[in-house]
């Protein structure tokens, strides 16, 4: 992830303070990232109550694991978003198991559109920089061939495994893997361009 996404040093300082037991830093982390994390979680779970629950679990996990965060690795937003996505998907899966529903019966989430432009009130991440990231990601996603976009959508936002995706789309497993790989490679290239432009 290009560190254009976030002022990396300030965020790492927050995580260092959390690891040292400073609960105010957890509040600040929440202020900085709740809109981004809420957006992705709401997209996955589809219900504000469920989203709140997942957000609480996610930020709590961040508090408990702050000491194990490795600075040399990904950025703070990646760390948080990946924890949130995984918890949201678990949430949907357990709910699905509970209701014995098939994934086809879940409410259809809104089409992946890059959002942002007409989103609600500004958050700390509504900086020009974040807007730029959002624009680039939206463009890159929009340029993906429909079958690649669908694969990413089903895996990332619907929490489906590659086997489930293969069944749902009637494609071989290898094809699902290839589509996922091509989609992420294109997105990575787009983000790399953003980083070069930003310097």
């Amino acid at each position: 992830m290009p560190d254009t996404l976030v002022p990396a040093q300030a965020d790492r300082e927050l995580v260092r303070r959390m690891a040292a037991g400073d609960e105010a830093a957890l509040g600040e982390l929440h202020d900085r990232f709740s809109t981004l994390v809420h957006s992705v979680v709401l997209r996955i779970v589809g219900d504000p109550d469920d989203a709140e629950e997942v957000l609480e679990e996610t930020f709590w996990q961040a508090w408990r694991q702050a000491g194990r965060y490795e600075e040399g690795r990904g950025g703070i937003s990646t760390w948080l978003v990946m924890m949130a996505r995984s918890r949201a998907v678990d949430h949907v899966r357990s709910r699905r198991r509970f209701r014995e529903e098939r994934w086809e019966q879940l409410p259809e989430p809104a089409e992946m559109d890059g959002g942002g432009a007409d989103a609600g009130e500004p958050s700390p991440l509504e900086s020009a920089q974040a807007d730029e990231v959002r624009r680039v990601v939206a463009q890159a996603v929009a340029k993906l061939p429909p079958e690649q976009r669908e694969t990413v959508e089903l895996a990332y936002f619907r929490g489906m495994s590659q086997t489930e995706i293969a069944e749902a789309t009637g494609q071989p497993l290898g094809t699902v893997k290839t589509r996922a790989r091509l989609a992420l490679q294109k997105l990575r290239e787009a983000l790399a361009v953003l980083r070069e432009d930003g310097r």
Binding site: M1, G115, A138, Y156, Q162, V176, K177, R181, A183
Partner: protein
């Protein structure tokens, strides 16, 4: 049976892993390979960073402001309680008092301990207790939200809420006890006995606030219809500071408020009396502590 995957197989599966889409057996095989392959590990990290950026592809929906403020408050309270619990290695004040009250086993009438400052009792244990209340409040708020969705939780919530109320009351009581023991001018009078099981006690007297706090240990069990009675012995005669019954393990605490000039206390004593107590002691003291400036 574990799945065998070559480096190239793993490379081909890394995007699916970054999207969290690998099924169990394959995910295990990929993770096993990653442990020994830097190249694949770096590639996965890069793909994970990319996948995380997909969060920006979701429509940006800020959380409802009230909901967000409540969540933030809950998180900070939970974190404060978490930190307080982890760092509180000092025993809570009551434990220290218990240790104080049960230390002396010598026989005979114990001379007076002169006034000792009792500062420094508000340690980390106290902070932890306060943090625990915050945690319970946070849990209470959380339970309140769940209640509407899961009716079955309402009973649990009621008991939590009651527990919280009891804890708040217990801590308020402890707070006032600590205050009564920790004033700069608090006097300490020790009471002891010649009996075999050596009952004993300690009286904390703060002349400034007229607060008396008494702890006793190893008190023999009472016969039915009997009470222990605590006396302040003054030149004008004994003044009752109340009656009490010990716990099954012989412990007792009495608190009283009674204004007495500093030079008017001669001794503190406990006698056994008919239930409800008497205006004057009827027998010999079980434990006694004399006092003089």
């Amino acid at each position: 049976m574990s799945l065998e995957m070559t480096h190239d197989d793993v490379r081909a599966a890394l995007a699916a892993e970054a999207l969290g889409a690998l099924d169990g057996e394959e995910a295990e095989a990929v993770r096993a390979h990653l442990a020994g392959c830097d190249e694949c590990r770096r590639e996965l990290e890069s793909l994970r960073e990319t996948a995380a950026a997909l969060a920006y592809a979701a429509p940006q929906v800020p959380m409802d402001a009230d909901r967000s403020a409540r969540l933030r408050a809950r998180l900070v309270a939970r974190a404060a309680a978490d930190r307080g619990g982890a760092s509180a290695d000092a025993p809570p004040p009551a434990n220290r008092i218990g240790a104080l009250a049960s230390g002396d086993e010598e026989s005979g009438v114990i001379p007076i301990s002169r006034a000792r400052g009792r500062r420094g009792m508000m340690g980390g244990g106290w902070l932890a207790a306060a943090a625990a209340v915050l945690l319970l409040i946070a849990v209470g708020a959380y339970a309140a939200r769940m209640k509407g969705r899961y009716e079955a939780l309402s009973d649990r919530y009621a008991s939590l809420d009651q527990e919280r109320t009891q804890l708040v009351q217990a801590i308020a009581k402890r707070d006032s006890t600590v205050a009564a023991l920790s004033g700069p001018g608090v006097q300490v009078i020790e009471l002891a006995s010649t009996q075999r099981r050596a009952p004993g006690g300690r009286m904390f007297w703060d002349p400034a606030t007229a607060r008396w706090t008494f702890f006793a240990h190893d008190l023999p069990a009472l016969r039915p219809d009997r009470d222990y009675q605590l006396w302040l012995i003054t030149p004008a005669g004994p003044v009752s500071a109340g009656t009490f019954k010990p716990t099954p393990d012989g412990l007792a605490t009495v608190q009283a408020t009674y204004a007495l000039p500093r030079d008017q206390l001669r001794a503190v004593a406990v006698t056994e009396e008919p239930e409800g107590g008497l205006p004057r002691p009827s027998g010999q003291p079980l434990i006694l502590g004399t006092y003089g400036e």
